[in-house]
Amino acid sequence: MFMTKTVLKNLLTKYATRLYPFQTRETFKDVKGELKIEIDKCVFCGVCKMRCPSQCIGVDKKGRSWEVDPFACVYCGICVDACPVKCLYQEGMYKAPVAEKHMVFHAQEEKADAPT
């Protein structure tokens, strides 16, 4: 009896869900989404690599490159908090699904006018 009333009420109210992906909601502020790096700021100190609980970051000091396995990353944000120069940040959205796994690789370009 109670249930019938509830079911009828549900039929008459609007959807509780969104028509994703056509309709999306704005992400909340400070949501821990996909991990990004501003590679030019990175000093290759390796702190992020050491702190990461899932050990999915690779830092190559000599080759001046930084990489992350986005499929092993658990979006915890520890590396973002730990980075001394604050060059890591997390976007509001999670990484979109892909068909094949891959690493995200960034290398600093040689600065032409850098003093040797």
């Binding site: 109670f2 249930m3 509830t6 079911v7 549900n10 509780a16 909340f28 502020k29 400070d30 949501v31 821990k32 702190r51 990461c52 609980p53 899932s54 658990v74 979006y75 915890c76 944000g77 520890i78 908090d81 997390q90």
Partner: protein
């Protein structure tokens, strides 16, 4: 009468959890149940040897998705005890807020699954729709929907400002109203009563003897709740354990329903009493010694045993989750019940097998 042996699980339509029971039945009546666990063992305790004690916070959060913040809280409280860290008052209140949010969403999830086990699919959707409000609160306050990663050794990482506080309180009012409406829908329903009242009775003595935990224990009339031991800000909040006395499936459902309202009340109290102040203190040194830390999760008492020898890595980490404690009482409830009631009885202990096996 011939006896039949029937395998139940680990894949079963009403139970997403990989629990296997070997049931001996006689004319559709269960005579004996033997559990078999170990399908989702992940070796998380072993990881303590290669991840340092601060990284372990993120790992214990993943013991169970539903109780993530409570696992981290229990672990951090243990490490804090080892390092003699006094957590700031505001952090203690914030921990209560996130812990109780977790309780609400976990109980709503369970109520949805419970309704689904009866075939009440629309009711299942209703509960999960309400639950979505809490998930939004979690996402907005902690940055993640499910794994609420806010605890650190010495306090919490994030703060809740006045504006968010207002939004949380408004949302909780809505949640309380909507859950209250559904209360009559499920608890006064003829079919639900027919299938739960007087079924799977766990007597007070048996519950105590077999070491039941959480709502399974409290529905049998024992007022035991780890929050009474006074961790975080609970000693300053007014609350007493929700108890029911019948010990049947219905009592366990009512118990969880009432705990949702209690959790909402605790969050309101926490916000009313929350002092200003810092969020965390920086711990000095490394943990050394042995400690047992206990916290009340939605499913019952979780116990962490930590042994540290003054290095970065823990010597030993041992986790006992509430479902592990609730399996012996379940085996006591099953004999004598109808085969058709088995899934519902298993559900009433709110099993979380992946955290049992860690």
């Amino acid at each position: 009468m011939t006896r039949t042996v029937l395998p139940f699980g680990p894949q079963h339509p009403v139970l997403p959890e990989p629990l296997h029971l070997t049931l001996t039945i006689e004319d559709e009546i269960v005579k004996e149940a033997i559990p078999k666990l170990g399908y989702v063992h992940r070796g998380l305790e072993k990881l303590a040897e290669i991840r340092d004690h601060t990284q372990m916070i993120q790992i214990v959060e993943r013991v169970c998705g539903i109780c993530s913040t409570l696992h981290a809280m229990c672990y951090c409280q243990g490490i804090e005890a080892l390092m003699n860290v006094e957590v700031p008052s505001r952090a203690k209140y914030l921990r209560v807020v996130w812990a109780e949010m977790h309780r609400i969403h976990s109980h709503l999830l369970w109520l949805g699954l419970f309704a689904d086990a009866f075939g009440f699919e629309s009711l299942f959707m209703q509960f999960w729709r309400i639950r979505e409000r809490i998930m939004d609160l979690q996402e907005a306050t902690s940055g993640n929907r499910v794994i609420v990663s806010v605890n650190v050794v010495g306090g919490v990482k994030r703060d809740i400002n006045k504006e968010t506080e207002k939004w949380i309180l408004e949302t909780l009012d809505k949640v309380a109203r909507e859950v209250n409406q559904l209360k009559t829908t499920i608890l006064d329903d003829f079919t639900v009563k027919q299938r739960t009242v007087g079924i799977g009775i766990l007597s007070k003595e048996k519950a105590y003897e077999l070491g039941a935990a959480g709502p399974t224990l409290r529905a049998s009339g024992i007022a035991q709740d780890m929050r009474q031991t006074g961790y975080a800000a609970y000693p300053e909040l007014d609350f007493s354990p929700v108890i029911e006395t019948n010990g049947d499936s219905y009592a366990r459902t009512v118990c969880r329903f009432n705990e949702i309202f209690q959790a909402i009340d605790l969050i309101r109290q926490a916000f009313a009493k929350m002092p200003e102040g810092e969020l965390a203190v920086k711990p000095k040194g490394l943990p050394k010694g042995e400690v047992v830390s206990r916290v009340e999760q939605p499913r019952g008492e979780v116990l962490y045993y930590l042994k540290a020898d003054g290095t970065k890595f823990l010597d030993r980490l041992r986790i006992r989750t509430p479902t592990f404690a609730n399996i012996p009482p379940l085996l006591d409830m099953l004999p004598g019940c109808d085969l058709a009631d088995v899934p519902i009885l298993i559900l009433t202990i709110d099993p979380c097998i992946s955290c049992t096996e860690r």
